[in-house]
């Protein structure tokens, strides 16, 4: 599976523009032909706006409860399903839950299997919407409940507090949902007087397939299976569609919601793509089984309706029951095979690396919540660091496997006969610059949204960290020029000096790599202070050594200046790598940051310790 290239993106934009134009033209014609259609369309628009407001409302509470709940509730499959069911029921939007799940899977915060569980649960959760609309929405004067919610919602929206604004959006969302349902109900009732859609009912298998396709198309256009279900239930209540055709539309609505997630998954990274594929497979399988066993399912609905007291002619509640049953059937069929599905997706859905390094974690879905955005940035900065680690290793003429093992660095360096040729500029362009640009652009996107201070501070640290990585690589570029000339010099003092430089940087790379395998936190990042001290001490020793060689005239002046410059570059590489590691090693916990600020040694303290060690050695 190849990532999107520029031509694919142009094609996508053209398709979206054409679709938008077609929708506008059809609606415009429809409004001109039928005033009742205006009311129905307005009802759908209000309903969709209500769902958008609900999403905004819930997002005000993300960065905390939702993410904590998601992380804790996905270590078992049944928990993932329950989470998907619960959150979709509460938020009345499987789209938001699916997008958050894709962002978490893309950021590797939850496993693919857990993501599949949540998607299954979310599918079940959408059925509660059908019950709400069929059981309540169309039987009471729901507009009367909407109005006070809209008023209170707007008042809360005028508040400065993020939480109160969030509650405001929630109330507005529910208010608009109710208002949308009311308009649609009136619209369909009015339409019935002038126009009888049920005359176009198609019986049998043909009807089943045609109306499934219509349900899918409507959901794709409206990007919401909830809105489609509302249309179906309202149309059924007004007698505009037959019960059989309504069942087929409901199956189509399910298929359409998978298409929406699939579109979102196209722009995600590998994890997100795999999850989108899983969602499509799950919904297609569920739809296929429902279509194949439609008669048996209708029979089951009738039997269960009798048991739980649903009237024989209450087709609205029967539709809601059918919707629940066929989604439940899908879950029951897939649950035993989730692990196999995960393995198959990992095996067959691949990532083909493009010529220049692309970000692995920075996808639009990661912007959904501050914590997924920061995690995505941290993972990408870690990716950037890994690339820099390889480049710097090669720049030192050491294999990565030597640095990443316990092999003696002194032996490896001293046994070097030839400095590896390396086009640092080329590698920088391909492996570093593209990632750095993507990180900076992504952070810009996050900062364009309302983000709490705690997360903004972390983004700032990570941005600084990525800049430090780039500066370390640039310093390596300068160092490598003279390393190529003098690194294996026949002049022993020169050779010794460059060997010492290479060992020092290699050691630092190894120690940082080991620290990165530990749990992020205050203790791990405080360990960087000993690396700073080691860097300071070894740099002073080498400078003293160069000065002695100059005094004793063991090296010519032009070599001395090169050694001094290269010592500065080596120091810069070490300093920048330590700073970058600091950004990666600190945890999210605000407590850790405060403690680290208090306990960490500042530059003056490091210099003082290095000086006192020098004095001890001199004595």
């Amino acid at each position: 599976m190849r990532s999107n290239g520029p031509w694919n993106r142009v094609a996508e934009r053209m398709q979206r523009s054409l679709l938008l134009t077609a929708v506008f033209l059809v609606l415009g014609y429809g409004f001109w032909v039928s005033p009742d259609l205006k009311e129905i369309a307005a009802g759908i628009a209000l309903f969709l706006f209500g769902m958008i407001s609900l999403e905004s409302g819930f997002k005000a509470f993300t960065g905390g409860a939702l993410e904590i709940a998601l992380r804790r509730s996905t270590d078992r499959l049944w928990k993932s399903i329950a989470f998907g069911l619960g959150s979709t029921t509460m938020m009345q939007s499987s789209t938001l839950v699916s997008l958050i799940t894709i962002s978490f899977v893309s950021a590797e915060m939850i496993s693919l299997a857990a993501g599949i569980g949540i998607i299954m649960g979310a599918n079940l959760g959408t059925t509660t919407g059908a019950w709400l609309i069929a059981g309540l929405g169309l039987r009471v004067d729901i507009a009367a409940y909407a109005m006070p919610m809209l008023v209170f919602g707007v008042i809360l929206l005028l508040n400065r507090s993020r939480e109160l604004k969030g509650v405001g959006y929630l109330l507005l969302g529910i208010g608009f949902l109710f208002l949308g349902i009311a308009y649609m109900k009136e619209g369909f009732d009015a339409l019935q007087e002038g126009f009888d859609l049920s005359a176009y009912a198609v019986p049998g298998l043909a009807g089943l397939l045609i109306f499934t396709a219509i349900g899918m198309a409507v959901t794709v256009i409206m990007q919401s299976s909830h809105a489609t279900l509302l249309v179906i239930i309202a149309a059924l209540a007004a007698g505009q569609v037959t019960y059989d055709n309504a069942l087929a539309l409901a199956i189509g609505a399910n298929l359409g919601s998978a298409f929406t997630t699939a579109l979102g998954g196209l722009t995600a990274n590998l994890g997100g793509k795999r999850l989108a594929v899983a969602h499509v497979l799950f919904n297609v399988m569920t739809a296929a089984v429902a279509i194949a066993l439609i008669d048996q399912m209708v029979w089951a609905v009738d039997q269960i309706s009798n048991l739980i007291g649903i009237a024989e002619d209450d087709f609205l509640l029967k539709l809601a029951l059918f919707h629940t049953l066929f989604n439940l059937l899908g879950v029951v069929l897939l649950v035993p095979f989730v692990k196999q599905l995960e393995r198959a997706l990992i095996r067959y859905v691949h990532f083909v690396p493009p010529p220049s390094e692309q970000p692995r974690f920075l996808f639009p879905e990661a912007l959904e919540t501050p914590s997924t955005a920061v995690t995505a940035v941290r993972n990408e900065v870690a990716h950037l660091y890994d690339n820099a680690h390889v480049l710097i290793s090669h720049g030192l003429s050491l294999r990565r496997r030597v640095i990443d093992s316990d092999a003696s660095l002194s032996d490896a360096v001293r046994s070097t006969r030839r400095i590896m040729p390396l086009d640092v500029d080329d590698v920088y362009e391909k492996k570093i610059k593209s990632l750095y640009s993507a990180i900076v652009a992504f952070i810009g996107d996050v900062q364009g949204r309302e983000t709490p201070q705690h997360w903004t501070d972390q983004l700032y640290s990570l941005q600084e960290g990525s800049r430090d990585i780039v500066e370390a690589v640039k310093a390596m570029k300068h160092l490598h020029k003279n390393l190529s000339r003098f690194g294996v010099s026949p002049n022993p003092p020169v050779r010794e000096h460059y060997d010492a430089l290479r060992i020092q940087i290699a050691k630092l790379l190894r120690e940082i790599r080991e620290l990165r395998t530990e749990e992020p936190g205050a203790i791990t990042s405080l360990s960087l202070d000993s690396l700073k001290l080691a860097l300071e001490r070894s740099s002073r020793e080498r400078l003293d050594s160069i000065n002695r060689m100059i005094r004793d005239r063991r090296i010519p002046p032009h070599i001395a200046t090169s050694l001094l410059n290269d010592e500065a570059y080596a120091y810069e590489i070490g300093e920048k790598l330590i700073e970058a590691a600091h950004a990666l090693l600190l945890s999210d916990a605000p407590g850790d940051r405060i403690v680290e600020e208090v306990l960490a040694l500042d530059d003056r303290e490091i210099e003082r310790m290095a000086s006192s060690a020098e004095e001890k050695t001199a004595r």
Binding site: S530, G591, V595, L599
Partner: protein, 100 residues
């Protein structure tokens, strides 16, 4: 006396700065404990008579951990002193309560 105790507790609860400092104190103590363990382990390794280069490296780490612990203990003392200081109203209520 009960009313004064209650008022002192209420004052402590409402005093955000004090609560933040108390949290900081608890976190620093946790980290200091881990640093102490780390210092012990480094000393043990040093006593095992490693080579010259390893010795210098271990000594450097030990110096750093020791310096971090000293800073941490100074901060702990600072926070404790600020909680005991009689010039702040809360401390006045607490000191009076303690004396009673």
């Amino acid at each position: 006396m009960k009313t004064k105790n209650l008022l002192a507790k209420l004052a402590n609860f409402m005093d955000k700065d004090r609560n933040v400092e108390s949290e900081e104190l608890a976190t620093i103590r946790g980290v200091l404990k881990k640093l102490k363990t780390k210092e012990h382990k480094l000393r043990e390794k040093l006593e095992a008579n490693p080579g010259e280069e390893a010795r210098a490296e271990l000594q450097g780490k030990l110096d750093v951990v020791h310096a971090q612990r000293v800073k941490g203990l100074e901060r702990v003392k600072e926070i404790r002193d600020s909680h005991r200081e009689p010039s702040t109203p809360n401390a006045t209520a607490e000191t009076k309560t303690t004396e009673e």
